[in-house]
């Protein structure tokens, strides 16, 4: 996993509540058995005027000039500014893969859906929760200043505006540690292999019915 420490980047605003993962990456792109290549189809139904299918050449498609990511001032954005309940709906991690593949490393919102929030940390993307009134202010600031950029400092758990205002955000210490160091969580868990095995052995003894496989096969 790519580590994330400090980042200063252009902010793209997506001014909608309840942006669901179907909107972030529509279902036809979930047929891929790969983990990469979802960026061109991020927000596909909003971003293009034609209907997208896997395998289409994105450079030949009709883009929707009104959609925020298609506006030149937000080109190269690495921070997405969003509204409440971002990432709700389906558990598809493809939504985070699409955001990351497009180039987003940070999403700022007043609240996130739980599964999406979890998925971000597995892919080097920081979901930062800021109070609704701060997010409101950021939307206004982004609209007022083309090229508006924020500085994100994960170690300090701070987002700093061009004017020098500092907004702290909360994050679990374990997730922060993994993100700062780009750690493989499976490897970390397997360091406790003996404890897992001991738990499992005890469980097999006390609740053997959980280990039956029925007549399957």
């Amino acid at each position: 996993m790519e580590k994330l420490d400090k980042l200063t980047g252009i902010v793209a605003p997506l001014d909608r509540v309840n942006v669901d993962t179907d909107a972030i990456i529509p279902k036809q792109f979930l047929k891929s058995i790969k983990r990469s290549g979802f960026g061109p189809n991020l927000f596909d139904e909003w971003r293009y005027l034609d209907h997208g299918e896997p395998g289409m050449d994105a450079s030949k498609r009709a883009v929707n000039p009104d959609f925020v990511l298609n506006q030149p001032r937000y080109r190269g954005a690495t921070i997405l500014l969003a509204r409440d309940n971002f990432g709700c709906g389906s558990s598809r991690e493809h939504a985070v893969w699409a955001l990351a593949d497009y180039g987003f490393r940070v999403v700022i919102a007043p609240s996130f859906a739980d599964i999406f929030y979890n998925n971000c940390f597995k892919n080097g993307v920081l979901p930062a929760v800021l109070p609704a009134e701060v997010v409101d202010g950021l939307f206004a600031a982004v609209a007022a200043a083309p090229g508006y950029a924020l500085a994100v400092d994960l170690a300090a758990q701070e987002i700093v505006t061009p004017a020098g205002e500092r907004h702290g955000f909360a994050i679990d210490p374990f997730r922060k540690h993994c993100l700062l160091n780009g750690l493989d969580e499976i490897g970390l868990t397997l360091e406790h292999r003996a404890e897992i095995a001991a738990y499992e052995e005890n469980r097999r003894r006390t609740a053997p019915w959980l280990f039956t496989t029925g007549t399957a096969g």
């Binding site: 909107a23 709700c88 985070v96 996130f112 679990d172 969580e185």
Partner: protein, 466 residues
């Protein structure tokens, strides 16, 4: 100290407390489907890892499978590759899979309970947000992303932070014609689609106790639509009666031992919840969503709202956008909304009781002329067979419905079943998001009986008046 059901399930699965607010939680049952697993298996291979305990895993293709002409295979090459990749992975790692031609194949959240592979006291995960369904059995069940699918395959565990506990009490009795789907939508109407974020929800109260297991599954299924990853219902006789004799369920002396343990799977009487919501079952009416989020919902005798009625400017803009997408006029009666397609199916409402309820409305009647397609997609091969034994398939086909093969189908339109742009659907599924049932498609979420009634009338009607 008094414990909630969630406390008990959590405590029972802690392998180790990491001391930083997270715990390593043991996973008893891992359900796998074709869409969210290929990258996880690939990750295992790349790291040279093997699954920790394959007997915990049950796999089935459901999202991509066709619901017609199944003997022809899957015509879309990309869908076919994904299903074949699941077959290959299950063969390579020795995982039990109900393949597309297996009579037990079906939607992962239908077959788990149907097989007794979901048991009380379990932790159940799946790379699918509607895993919350399995909480109906007094289990801790939640959806996970693909990285977590790989993590569970490799370690049989997940690193988790404990959620807060919310109790939703549905007291009293539901009126005639009111189903678990209406209760679920009433909950979302009350707390909103983010109301459950950060919580695990336990459903309690007389109206929940009165639900069948299938009704409880519908209710728990929609929990994720209220923002909570897991919903649950305490174990009672209804739970035990449902499970007895299922293929994966224990039998004989093991059954007796299990039942003893399962009886304790309820919140202690004096357990304290972080939040409590009470809903009077008698006030619940048949509900219909009008917008592009499940919280955009109102009663069938109500009206499409006027955006200016929303005080919050962000919500007002959301309603304006939703009404434009849905092609609805503010203030119009819900009953005047005409529908083009009917979808009865999905992990929310495709079980035998759902099909019986819809068939009871349809029997002896015919689909309205303006309805282009009405389809019933049973949740599994076994549900389909049961329905056919009861003659429900003939009731539906005589009324002009199509009777299909099991799968996720038009709930998310990954296979060929979908809405065309602008088409309007009365759907028993769980999400009315933009484009969910096909690009430009317009979804109204309702109960199976309400969908059946809309099919006959050609527009929404109050099922209680039929």
């Amino acid at each position: 100290m008094a414990k909630t059901l969630y406390d008990k399930l959590w405590d029972d699965h802690v392998v180790r407390d990491n001391g930083d607010g997270t715990c390593l939680l043991y996973i008893d049952r891992h359900l796998v489907h074709e869409v969210t697993s290929p990258q996880a298996f690939e990750g295992l291979r790349l790291a040279g890892r093997r699954p920790w305990r394959v007997s915990s895993v049950l796999a089935v293709p459901d999202h991509n499978v066709p619901t017609t002409d199944r003997e022809q295979g899957i015509s879309d090459p990309i869908s076919r590759e994904q299903v074949e990749t699941l077959d290959d992975n299950c063969r390579e790692f020795d995982i039990v899979e109900f393949r597309m031609d297996d009579p037990r194949q079906g939607i992962v959240h239908v077959i788990g309970p149907e097989e007794g592979a979901t048991l009380p006291g379990m932790t159940v995960v799946c790379g699918d947000s509607h895993t919350s369904t399995h909480g109906a059995f007094g289990a801790l069940a939640f959806g996970i992303g693909t990285s977590e699918v790989e993590h569970v395959l490799a370690t049989q565990c997940l690193v988790q932070k404990k959620s807060r506990a919310m109790q939703i009490r549905i007291e009293g009795r539901c009126g005639p014609g009111i189903t678990a789907k209406d209760i679920a939508l009433a909950v979302i109407e009350r707390i909103g689609t983010a109301g459950g974020t950060g919580y695990v929800i336990e459903y309690a109260g007389a109206a929940v106790r009165a639900l069948s297991m299938e009704g409880r599954m519908t209710l728990c299924n929609m929990t994720i639509e209220a923002g909570a990853r897991a919903g649950m219902v305490a174990v009672d006789d209804t739970t035990l009666e449902y499970l007895r004799g299922r293929p994966f369920a224990p039998a004989g002396e093991q059954w007796e031992r299990a039942v003893d343990a399962w009886r304790g799977l309820q919140s202690d009487p004096d357990a304290v919840f972080d939040a409590v919501v009470e809903i009077d079952a008698a006030t619940i009416k048949p509900l219909v969503t009008w917008g592009t989020s499940p919280e955009m919902v109102t009663t069938v005798d109500g009206h499409v709202p006027r955006p200016e009625a929303f005080a919050d400017p962000v919500k007002r803009r959301g309603a304006e956008r939703a009404l434009e997408y849905m092609g609805l006029t503010p203030g119009m009666p819900i009953r005047d909304i005409r529908v083009d397609k009917i979808f009865i199916g999905s992990c929310t409402n495709s079980r035998i009781e759902d099909l019986r309820a819809a068939a009871a409305i349809v029997r002896g009647r015919h689909v309205a002329d303006n309805v282009r397609l009405a389809m019933v997609v049973p949740g599994s091969g076994l549900v389909k067979r049961q329905a056919e034994q009861e003659g429900l398939d003939r009731v539906f086909t005589a009324a002009g419905f199509e009777w299909r093969e099991p799968g996720c189908s038009m709930c998310l339109a990954m296979n060929a079943d979908r809405l065309e742009p602008g088409e309007r659907c009365a759907s028993t599924s769980n999400r009315n998001f933009e484009g969910r049932q096909g690009p430009g498609g317009r979804t109204h979420l309702v109960s199976p009986a309400m969908a059946a009634a809309a099919a006959i009338a050609g527009h929404f009607v109050d099922v209680r008046e039929l």
